[in-house]
Structures are given as C-alpha cells and as structure tokens.
Symmetry: C2
C-alpha cells in the first residue's frame, strides 16, 4: 500500500515516524508544510521539514520539540552579545543543517533538491517533499500587532496574539511540484497527520489543486485535538479565535469536503455519532504518541482503519 502523509511539525513527525516503522521506505511519501519557513540571520530555516528529518534520523530533541538532541548553544549565547533578543533559539549542530541547506539553495538548488540531498546524507530514504519550491509563507493578521510572519507569531510572541486572519502569502502563484502531484496521485491512502489544520495542513491545500486531488483519494486524518485541547501548540486557541469550539468534531468538519475517515481519542468517543453524521468514518483509540512504540501503534491503527474505509 502506497501511503502519502500531509504533515506539519511535531505531530506530523510523530505519525510519520510511526508509519516509517511499518511501511517499506519506498511506499511512504511525506508532503511537508513550508509555510513556517523563514530566513533568519540569512539562513533558510524549514522548521517542519527539520522536525521530520531529525525525527526520522533519530536526532530530534525530545524535550524541546524542535532542533537536535544533545546540542550546544555556544553560537546562540554569543549572538546574545550582538542582539539583545535573538528570539529563535538555534543549536550549534542544528545550524549546520541550516548552513548546508542555505548553501545548496544559494548554489541554485530547489528546496526539494536540497531536502533530498540532506535526507540522503542522513540515510533517510523516505520521500520528504516540501509542499512547493516557491516562497509561500504563512502570515498572521493579529489584533495587537497587525500582520506578523509566522515565526514572529509562533516563537517570538509565543502564539499569544489574537488571530484575525491567516494568510498563505503568494500561494495562488506557487507551483505544485511534480513529485508532490505524483505522491498524491499514486497513493492508495492519504494520511493527514495530527498537525494544526490552519498552520500546517491548509497551507499545503492552498497550493495548486491539492484540495481537488484529495477528493479523488481515500483520506484518513488523525485528530490533533483531544477533548477540547490541542496535543501541542495553538490549534485549540485558534479554533476559539475563529469562532469555533475546539474538538475532534471541529477537525472533521474542517476537513469534511474530502475526508473519508478520522481517528479520534478514546475520550472523544461521544463525538463518534456526530462525526459519522458528516459522512466520515470514525476509529477510536489512544492517539497520544509519547514514544516510538506509541507512534508505531497509532500508525498501525491508521492503516488498519484505512482498510475498512472504502
């Protein structure tokens, strides 16, 4: 079974790690949000791609949720001498990846090519596909500060400012890479990872005709919301700011145009009927992915569930 996952950062990295433990590498592709990407001190930083790469290479920092494990911060601490508030914490080892990527892009490589080279170097043979090679950056219109670029909103302001609107800048002009098209078209199953709908999944859907393409495929999501809370990050908060109640039902509703099934948490079993009334199948299980065996178990359940969804 060929599986293509749509993924953002930490939640995406977890489920992708689980899938990678079951599927042969050649059967798994991951389309990754690049709306969070930014240029920082001249370096091209791709937080979501990096989360997935580090996770697959068993290099991820398990506590921070980003960056590399056992990293040092000598560069960052020195940067404090030059800048009072370098708000994005970069580890010394992590910087090596950003330097390499920046160097490849400056030498004329596309982001997708640079990603492929980096994956090869780290021994990752799963296809990690940036959603586009063009610059599509998520910006957030906030009440307090006006328009913020994504990392300003997310890291600098710790997603505290109230959201008025989310933009995927330049999205209508961006091209969907052939590799991404192929990954969707050839997939027997599309998995929507438990990532933030607005900040990780919708940016991918904003490129080309991805949304229309999903309508032709079997699509299974794993809910990023348990009860009324996000597993991590601002998903629940954004539901509220956009006038909706955060819940697995809310997630299903956001995806209903093209979603065939959703995996929700045990504590949300009472939402099954309501979600099914949207024409979406439901599987119920423990969806928290605390360690690698959890990730594998959830991934297995997604694939099993998919078999039962026609």
């Amino acid at each position: 079974m060929k599986v293509t996952a749509l993924a953002g950062g930490v939640g995406g990295a977890k489920l992708v790690k689980g899938l990678s433990q079951i599927l042969p590498n050649c059967d798994l592709s991951v389309i990754v949000n690049t709306g969070d990407d930014f240029i920082h001190y001249g370096l091209r930083i791709c937080p979501d791609i990096d989360s997935i790469i580090y996770s697959l290479a068993d290099l991820a920092d398990p506590i921070q949720g980003y960056g590399r494990e056992d990293d040092s911060y000598n560069c960052f601490n020195t940067l404090i001498e030059f800048d009072e508030k370098p708000w994005f914490r970069l580890g010394d080892k992590d910087i090596a990846l950003h330097l390499k990527r920046t160097s490849l892009i400056r030498s004329g490589k596309l982001l997708s090519e640079a990603t492929c080279i980096i994956c090869n170097t780290l021994g990752i043979s799963i296809k990690i596909l940036p959603m586009t090679d063009d610059d599509v950056f998520t910006t957030i219109d906030t009440k307090e500060f006006g328009e913020l670029n994504f990392q300003e909103y997310f890291v600098k302001h710790k997603f505290e400012p109230e959201i008025v609107k989310i933009n995927y800048t330049n999205s209508p002009m961006a091209k969907l890479p052939t590799s991404v098209k192929t990954a969707i078209n050839e997939a027997d199953l599309i998995v929507i990872c438990p990532s933030n709908p607005w900040l990780s999944i919708f940016p991918i859907l904003s490129i080309g005709d991805v949304e229309t393409m999903l309508m032709q495929k079997k699509v299974i999501a794993v809910s990023p919301i348990i009860g009324s809370k996000a597993i991590k990050g601002p998903a629940a908060k954004i539901f509220g700011e956009l006038g909706q109640k955060p819940s697995a039902t809310g997630v299903a509703d956001l995806y209903k145009k093209w979603l065939n099934g959703i995996v929700i948490d045990d504590i949300d079993i009472d939402k099954r009927k309501l979600i099914e009334s949207l024409g979406i199948k439901v599987a119920v299980t423990d969806i928290m992915m605390r360690d690698d065996s959890n990730k594998r178990r959830v991934a297995e359940q997604v694939l099993e569930f998919a078999e039962s969804v026609i």
Copy 2:
C-alpha cells in the same frame, strides 16, 4: 596625532592592537582589506575585519590566527556529516558574528554600517573601515587550477598553487567610502601594517584614488618580511612566483612611489643603505610581535620614527 592604518589580517591586527594601546581611540582609524571576504554557506565572512575586531576586543584565538579563543566546533563537526570537506573551519561563537553581519546586510545595511554596529556592540570605538562597501574580491590565477577565489587559494589549497596573476575583481567600479577618504585626508600619518602587499595592501590601493592620496601623506610601513621569510603566510612565496627576491628591500621597492619610511627587522640592517637609496627612510628594530607588550613597543617605535620623517 591622527593615525590611519591600512591593514590586512593577522599582521595588521597585531600592529593595530599595538597602536590602540598608545593612541586615544578617536585618533586611530583602520582601513581594512575586504578582498578576502567571501560568502560561505550563505554567510558573509570578512576574515581581515574579524581578525582586527577580535584582536581589539581581546577575543582572538592566539593559536589559530583567526576566529575566537575558547571556541567550540560543534556546528563545524556536524557540517562534516553533510559535506565531506568543509574546508573553512568555523567556530560556534565565531558563527554568531557572521550571522549578525549577514543579517544586518540582508536588512539593507552597508558592510561599513554593519561593521560599525558590531564594533559598538563589542565596545570597540576605534574606527574600523572596510576599504569599500562594494564587492571587490581578490581572485588568484594559478597554473594548476586556473582562477581561484581567494579563500579557495588560501585556505582550501593552503596557498600552495603557483600564482600567475592576482586580480581585484570589480575594483575599477568600486566606490571609496567617504569615511575612508576622510580617514586618509585627515591623517597626520598613514601606517602600512606588516600585511601581505598583494593580498592585503594592494587591494585597498586598487579602490578609487587611494594610491594618489597616499602620495600626499606621510606614509610609514612595517615590513612583513624578515630576512627572506614572511612572518606568516605566503608573502615570501608570492615574491618568488612574481620573479622577485623576498626581502624588506623588495617591500620598500613595491611601495616606493608613496612610501616615506619603513621599519625593518634587526637582522635586515644590511639592507638599510639600499632602501635609503630608493629615497625611503629606514628604522631598524625587532619587529616580531609575539605578545601585546611587543605590539605596543613596535607601535611606539613606528610613531617615534614617524616624528623623525619629514
């Protein structure tokens, strides 16, 4: 007495450090070669400016001759995972400076402005002036490899390839910054540091009408050659490749159009007469600058000698 020094890397940094111990900060300006600058992994690196900045801020690595003391190499060692041969060794703390500079330049600042901001942050009030804000990069035509950019020649190939010709690319189009003009015009004394003539001093002279301007000033050089050897680097080797014998006399000859006096080493006392026959005054002393007190002593002798040169 207002003094303006023309300087390259290590030798320049040493004499500048000596001068800084004697002169009030406001009376010392340093025009620094930027022909060695390069973009590496997307970072703008200015080896000569950095040598001088680190030296003045008491942060220089005394053994390596570049970079910061007590630095770590976690980023660099990780880069080896991505690149088989990252030939330019970058310390973690050192990278912070390059990130800050790159970030300032990307935000629209000129190199001179970025340098000024960095100097302020590090408490350096001596004027450190890049020779130009334009891109003038030294390239080396070699027998073995054709044209090499400076750092490829110097670091990657350890200045082993035989030189056919040295180019200061884009130099005729480059503008001399007003601050550099002022530093020369207002100086009572110009000091040519014991830097490589072709790789550090001539690039500065290639910008605008610096050479003509020097003809109007009192100019004292310190020889970068002792006996027939360079204190550091390829100066002696380049003399040979360009068909000349390396010596303090050779240095004086290269500079004779505008040089008023030269400080040479004790062991070169026999060259005094020949140099004086070029119309250049000579001071003889121990010019090796091993530590800060040496640097101060040589600087003092330069200033004293200058008083005697009319």
